[in-house]
Symmetry: D2
Subunit: 394 residues, 4 copies
């Protein structure tokens, strides 16, 4: 395997299975001197914790983070930070009946073929619980980025066929939204849709959008470790992601160069409302201000600094940040575990009808929001640290 | 920087600028014993060479590959293979006027901010010519994969608003198509669209689709080095890519679990035509056969082996191959270099109107097809080699 | 930091401080299917456990290994194996008086200068307790190597001025030796020497020798990841090591080519007693047989296979194993913590006289033997796994 | 293989065989803005060039470095620097007779067993010519270190039984010495010894010592990427190295803690002549001043700063630099290629008598001096760059 580590300088190593004794993460390379408590991490873990709404699995886990190393007298020491979360509410017997079946849409077949057998309890290593380690590590990354003026915010952009409307973006509502949607109307419709899915023993997919503000310019390492390339790896490494877009994404494929190129203008020029791709602005709810905030990072002392008139690039050109907002989207497939009868391949090569029992989320998108945020933060922080040696002036 | 290397066991290090003396690649970790000649590499390089149609830059480069090391008596030795391509037709003076300008849609700003200055000639390191190294390395990877029965095929899925129709898939036509489109009708419309773009001094984006057949099961390393995660990095590392999808991609976000889950059935069951996501089947043009070929890799001795009834997963579950066809798509933005007047940021912070001269492709998608193929091949081969130690039975 | 991970395919990430809550390791990339219990690891941990003789620190730790992930139904699953050992007997207050002092021979100054402050309790991350993670990981590596017929054996070669005599090598005695010396006479003198050191509040250095038998040929990756290069890194990564030798080591520098070159001969030729560099042969106590056993790995079916007449190369040529025994030695400096008064630099730049209290080993070499063994095993296993893709015949 | 890359942020990828078309290196991650010309690199290459004395191979190579990328308008751009040296004077036919023989002391057997066959011409990849790439990369590293006040100096410490005497250290003589020895008397004896070796168709080993001055404190990454651990890997990666020592090295194993611990004192205290391990001081020839120069890096404004009274640690404690001189030694085995008859293993398993023809160095140590210097510089620079993110204050 040896695929459980991410990052070059800020290195995250995740471990643990759904129904093992515990899950956790080792963060190696965290700069020294960061104030850090278990509560700082808990805040993030609580955002992905199950059992908080009827749209999430009923599994009840405390998911309490313990910091076992790397912090002394309340500050990071520069040595590896080991964080552990115990598994408590394990119903392993729920899964014994699927030991010989490859559940549709799950990693079961791959694990069996690769390793010869698998820990089938709750999906084992491929369980969504694996993301606990990522979130704990991401909580640390987010705190460091915040000190550098960089803020990562993700939210539910769509659930099934229900999309948020950028014109109704409501940052305050986002804070209380059950489904992490910044549009009250859309959320109501999404809940109705999810209720119908649940009645029909079915599940839904959705889209998470993530915005990163305050980025310095030039972050990202050409050629293979471009900012978007590593964000792409980070997003696709999340279990159910089947598509990733930066900025205009697939829409850019249908555009012309003259449309897609982001041009710059002076703020007092006529007709200056910057047009960004369809998305929300969590900080302000306003596209104009939000569009500028990215530039202001670089030109905060200059009222008359030119501004980017659109953001089809999603803040990344040539694999490096251009100083404006980074915008990315990840498409999540519907939860594969559904109670409806399905035909599935069995390990003996036969096909069997199965009904999946156990406690499963009808949609994972709201709980995945914090995972997207954390993976984006880890990626950006690592590249920020790698950038320090780009020039000789250190 | 230190971002010019890709792969863990099959390691590709790319170097070179558009208008430097040469470009090239070092491939470290290529298994010994592979018959390899410069002509084997040339075949792939010729597919990305400029000047082959009116839809590509008029720059004329021989792009002759020289193998400088790692091959002895016609076979790879296991030591690093260094491949070099000289730059010949350099018009550096075309670019001196843009030394102080950040061209819209280009990496210019990032390079200047990151490194303090840049080689502005032809985009320097961010030029499309950088992909020469990837293609040379990919040619090697493709040859090895072919020996293992794995075939990587990419083609133009869409140019601007013109998409190929899966029902008209024509593998033979693909071989002669100017735009690498496997649908003659669509190509005619695409050419008309491109002609219009060129008349209007504009450019077009597009989509490349890539299909990998013959994959063994279980390839890909959970958690962060999933097959789709590394394919995502590989695709987003290509200059103009703004979106990547696996299988159903963003469509999956709108589906229900019962729709999206790929189920298995016996081939003689009624109503068995497998439904795959909208895409082409280059090998056969037929979905049924193509759908089976993936499974046949594993069950070639069994006429009655169960078959996957759809391929929304795109051949990847839990980050590992499931033995069926891998399907991915990459969205390319339109060529940013257009002759139309545009407003651009200058290095002194001012905004200036520019018209970009030089020789530029009105669409890069057809030439990017082989780059997608090569990056996919490199990714798959590396993971195939990493998989060798997954079990104790070596 | 980000320096706590070792290995490419068999990847070991160590974490933990001397007086934190726990120490541990994550082993990523362990092949699936290995029978593994906590007891298997405990056997190795017990060999480095303190408090077993009067020549080791009196700190009393259970050092019980808990496996938290990666093992299911008694076998490794291929997913990361997380192993944790709790710290129990912490006397943190012993150390508060040295918070502002850089103890001679310790890492204190480096940690303070690098990170701005340090966890000074018991040396924090630079404590010998950090090796717990290495030993737990090494226990796994040793078990896998054993299945492949490879055996790693280390022992105390010298303590202070007292060296073992190869002519008195006694494999049986090694098993019961307090100081891990395979020469009873030498050990008696070494004990007398250590007693004198302790009376004088002083400490002793020593040498560990490590022999690896059963190696296949061709293991090691030219150019930078040579077998000896990575063994060198592995050995120097152990806290107190100041010198490393392979085979004849520094003696080779004084030799001529005609002496140092290891020649081959048929076993029935006259004058065939192979001369090896001065070291012990743990398996047999006899140089002749031992010299052959290395070759027998390759030629076990051939009584008349040629044999290497000496082993100045230490089993490694050009960075690759030659199929004979690998022999390496690591020189350990004396324990720097001594109760004698010493002058030391303080964090305020002044010089102060200090007497170090606490519980310290008068010599660490006997406890380091298992650490050397484990680091050698991890290195060899990783390179063995990397070798699998060297040729196309997989 | 995939073992031809060294470094994390300053990454060096070496390629090429002795009798291929060319050899070279790609340096990825070099900070932008360094003035760099081909001549800067040539100066270092000339120091390892053959044919400069009767004690080196008569092979005549221009060894002219060409920079193919990564430098624009005389400065590094931050992109990969590709450097190529053509092979000119190839006498491949000299080697055809050893295609089936494993030359004693060479890598032949390993390459054949690992890869199935080998490029036997001149040792192929395992030739000393492979170090050309290292030296070209090291030349760049040395220039950057010089800008940071860090100086790496290596010299011949011993040839066969002839050692330099620290009391006769002569920095000026070193510059003109044929054998890179800083002791005229020792060199004369060494030359006499080498003449005798050559008459007897034999070869000699030797020791290179390397001193690094101007090191900041705290460089090196615990636990596995310690400064000494990576220096160890770097040194053992050089073809003929069989032993490496830091500071007191193997002597430390025989010392007591009270002797080996380096203590600090005020410069005006009585009896302050610091005692260092037996080695040369290239900068000054004087141990006192040299001992201080290391500290002065940190305390240059303070006449009364405490000084380290000895340097048994060799400037490294806990894997991090302590701000004083780093001292390391590498033991080189004698050149294995000798014209004397030797018995060797053949690829068919038989033993044959051979006499090696061709042009070989009777001792490689003088030409290896610059290789040691360059590998040390690459290692230190990479760790210096990795250190930039150790604290939050960037």
């Amino acid at each position: 395997m040896a695929g459980s580590t991410f990052g070059t300088l800020f290195r995250v190593t995740s471990w643990g299975e759904s129904h093992g004794k515990a899950l956790g993460v080792v963060v190696d390379g965290c700069p020294a001197g960061l104030p850090l408590s278990e509560e700082d991490i808990q805040v993030y873990l609580d955002r992905r914790k199950p059992g908080r709404s009827r749209y999430a699995t009923a599994r009840s886990e405390g998911d309490r983070a313990q910091i076992l190393s790397g912090v002394f007298e309340g500050k990071t020491t520069g040595t590896p930070i080991s964080i552990l979360v115990s598994n408590e509410d394990q119903h392993s017997k729920d899964y014994s009946n699927i030991a010989d079946i490859y559940r549709p849409g799950h990693a079961d077949l791959g694990f069996d073929k690769k390793y010869g057998f698998r820990d089938y309890r709750g999906g084992g290593r491929s369980s969504g619980r694996e993301t606990i380690g990522r979130v704990a590590a991401g909580a640390i990354a987010c705190r460091i980025l915040a000190l550098k003026g960089i803020r990562v915010t993700a939210y539910t952009k769509a659930i099934g066929p229900v999309s948020c409307d950028p014109a109704r973006f409501d940052a305050d509502y986002l804070k209380e939204s059950t489904l992490c949607m910044p549009d009250r109307e859309a959320e109501e419709r999404a809940q109705a849709y999810l209720n119908r899915c649940m009645e029909e023993k079915d599940s839904s997919g959705g889209i998470v959008e993530c915005v990163i503000t305050g980025m310095p310019q030039g972050i990202g390492e050409p050629v293979f470790d471009k900012l978007d390339a590593l964000l792409g790896q980070a997003m696709f490494s999340i279990g159910a992601v089947k598509g990733v877009e930066i900025g205009a994404g697939f829409e850019a494929a249908g555009m012309r160069g003259s449309e897609n190129n982001d041009q710059y203008m002076y703020p007092d020029s006529p007709g200056n409302g910057p047009s960004t791709p369809d998305r929300y602005h969590p900080d302000t709810g306003s596209q104009e201000n939000s569009g500028r905030s990215g530039l202001d990072v670089q030109h905060s002392d200059n009222e008359n600094a030119p501004m980017k008139m659109s953001n089809h690039a999603g803040g990344i050109l040539g694999g490096m940040s251009d100083g404006t907002e980074i915008v990315l989207r990840a498409a999540f497939k519907p939860t594969p575990s559904i109670a409806r009868p399905q035909s599935a391949l069995a390990s003996d090569g036969s096909v069997r009808m199965i009904e999946i029992r156990g406690r499963h989320d009808p949609v994972i998108v709201p709980r995945a929001v914090v995972v997207v945020e954390c993976m984006a933060a880890i990626t950006v922080l690592d590249l920020l640290m790698r950038d320090l040696s780009s020039r000789l002036d250190w």
